[in-house]
């Protein structure tokens, strides 16, 4: 479960990124964060990931209160969170298999288990034939699949995606969204997006942000600003 309770976050120069935001996201819930640029979508994702800490209010993820700046639990928490970035952040000097295995090797699992888990997730994202390819040999859509596979691999039950389809054409966008749909009942998925079509057609929970405030929380909503 992810819980925000009266969370306010401002940056050093005084910009208020979030103001008094409260919501609860249940386990295995699929949620879209929508809003214009600067509305606070990425700030929410960063607070969940422990990259930021709130100026006031409480952020609880997996029963861990990570509101304090000196929280000791961040490393442990991050091992349960998968992150998908708009620019993929796929390592160029590692092949597909090695990129996906990164998250598993952090947990120092046996090689056999790593191989099994990586192949399972490669099947899920449809890259089973390209595990030895290097990033330069892949298309943008395939790179994003690698990033998603990396985020989903292992014991990561919360998936945060920041504009995962921002750099992709419509067809690839739908291929990517299909991957998220495949795991929607087994993982908590939070996607920050500007993509109107995706949000409208998926009919999932939508949190609408405007100038740092949560202005709408729709159970099966569409893209509204």
């Amino acid at each position: 479960m992810i819980q925000f309770e009266n969370v306010t976050k401002s940056y050093p120069l005084g910009t208020i990124a979030l103001e008094d935001v409260s919501f609860v996201i249940e386990p295995n819930e699929f949620t879209f964060l929508v809003g214009t640029s600067g509305a606070g979508k990425t700030t929410i994702l960063n607070l969940i990931l422990g990259y930021l800490y709130p100026n006031s209010g409480t952020v609880i993820v997996d029963d861990m209160d990570i509101s304090s700046k000196k929280s000791k639990k961040i490393e442990e928490l991050r091992r349960h969170i998968g992150v998908v970035f708009q620019d993929f952040k796929v390592l160029q000097d590692k092949n597909v298999f090695e990129n996906i295995a990164l998250g598993l090797s952090i947990q120092e699992l046996p090689i056999k288990k790593i191989k099994e888990d990586v192949r399972e997730v490669l099947n899920l994202v449809g890259l089973e034939s390209k595990e030895q390819y290097f990033p330069v040999q892949l298309s943008a859509g395939e790179l994003q699949r690698v990033a998603i596979a990396r985020a989903m691999c292992g014991d990561r039950h919360i998936i945060l995606a920041d504009e995962p389809t921002g750099n992709l054409d419509p067809k690839t966008t739908w291929d990517i969204m299909k991957i998220f749909k495949k795991v929607e009942n087994t993982k908590t998925i939070i996607i920050a997006t500007h993509n109107t079509d995706v949000v409208n057609s998926m009919k999932k929970r939508v949190l609408v942000l405007k100038k740092g405030r949560l202005i709408k929380d729709m159970k099966k909503g569409g893209y509204e600003l």
Partner: protein, 301 residues
């Protein structure tokens, strides 16, 4: 091992710079340690020789000489005093010149003086003992190695101080060079480190490959330095043996133990290699730890 070698191959210039820096420092350190050990061994050897010898006039009685011996032992400054009677001196003389019958014919026990050989507890006591002996009635001559011991003592002190200063400078320079190179390597991997940290990798996990590479280079540098040093020593060994022909063994005190530093024993050679390897790996690990430390803290804004 394969991962370490791959990582080193991917950053050849940085790896070579680390190796060169470690090589230079370890070689100079080994040279310093070897020379200091040798010098301490030599000092111990000189200290183990009779340090003050008093020769008595012919008419001095054995009772008087034993009285002088007893007085010296009561001072607390001497380790031991050995009485060499005229007959003992003659026996020693015969042994020393057994190959020269002409010299033996010319000498009888009456010609040789009785003497006391005195070993001081500390070299610093030597001048006081010599002064005391110069006042003894019936003495013929006091032979005192003051100059040799003093020079060796002051030389050892100077070399020790200079070595320590040089050693500290060397280590500081090496650490800074290694830290700078590792900083550079870490900077090249900044994206990967950032990603790993976002995925929950511990600081130890991220630091591990850098540490492994540092330890490997420390080990290789130490081994190469040792091999080279051993080669040079092997070439110089006959010359050193000739120069030190009168010295059967040089020992250094290691608390309850004594280690022979000359002739070079397998134990001493092994101890030098072990110490050098641990030192090389230690300094490489130390520099790497501090170079990576800054990048591994979880930044929360």
């Amino acid at each position: 091992m394969k991962e370490i070698l791959t990582a080193l191959r991917r950053t050849p210039y940085q790896s070579l710079a680390v190796f060169s820096s470690l090589f230079l420092s370890l070689f100079l350190s080994l040279l310093l340690v070897f020379c200091l050990n040798f010098l301490y061994g030599l000092l111990g050897y000189v200290e183990s020789r009779p340090q003050v010898t008093i020769y008595f006039q012919n008419e001095t009685t054995e009772t008087s000489i034993i009285g002088v011996k007893n007085d010296l032992e009561k001072t607390g400054m001497v380790e031991s005093v050995k009485y060499i009677s005229k007959n003992d001196a003659f026996t020693l003389y015969k042994d020393a010149n057994k190959d020269n019958p002409l010299l033996l014919e010319m000498v009888s026990p009456d010609v040789l003086p009785a003497s006391l050989e005195i070993f001081a507890k500390k070299p610093a006591y030597l001048p006081q003992i010599a002064d005391r002996l110069n006042r003894v009635t019936g003495k013929d001559e006091v032979s005192f190695q003051k100059n040799v011991v003093d020079k060796l003592l002051s030389l050892t002190a100077v070399i020790r101080t200079l070595s320590l200063g040089f050693f500290v400078f060397l280590m500081a320079t090496t650490s800074i060079v290694l830290m700078t190179i590792t900083h550079f390597k870490v900077a090249l991997k900044k994206d990967e480190i950032e990603l790993l940290r976002l995925m929950g990798a511990s600081a130890g996990y991220v630091r591990k490959p850098f540490m492994q590479q540092a330890l490997f280079l420390g080990f290789v540098s130490a081994t190469v330095v040792y091999g080279l040093f051993a080669g040079v020593l092997f070439l110089l060994y006959p010359a050193m043996q000739g120069y030190l022909s009168g010295i059967t063994q040089l020992l250094i005190d290691l608390g309850p133990y004594q280690l022979a530093v000359w002739p070079i024993t397998p134990l001493y050679a092994g101890a030098l290699y072990m110490g050098l390897t641990l030192f090389g790996m230690g300094i490489a690990a130390f520099a790497t730890y501090f170079a990576t430390h800054k990048y591994l803290a979880i930044q929360r804004n």
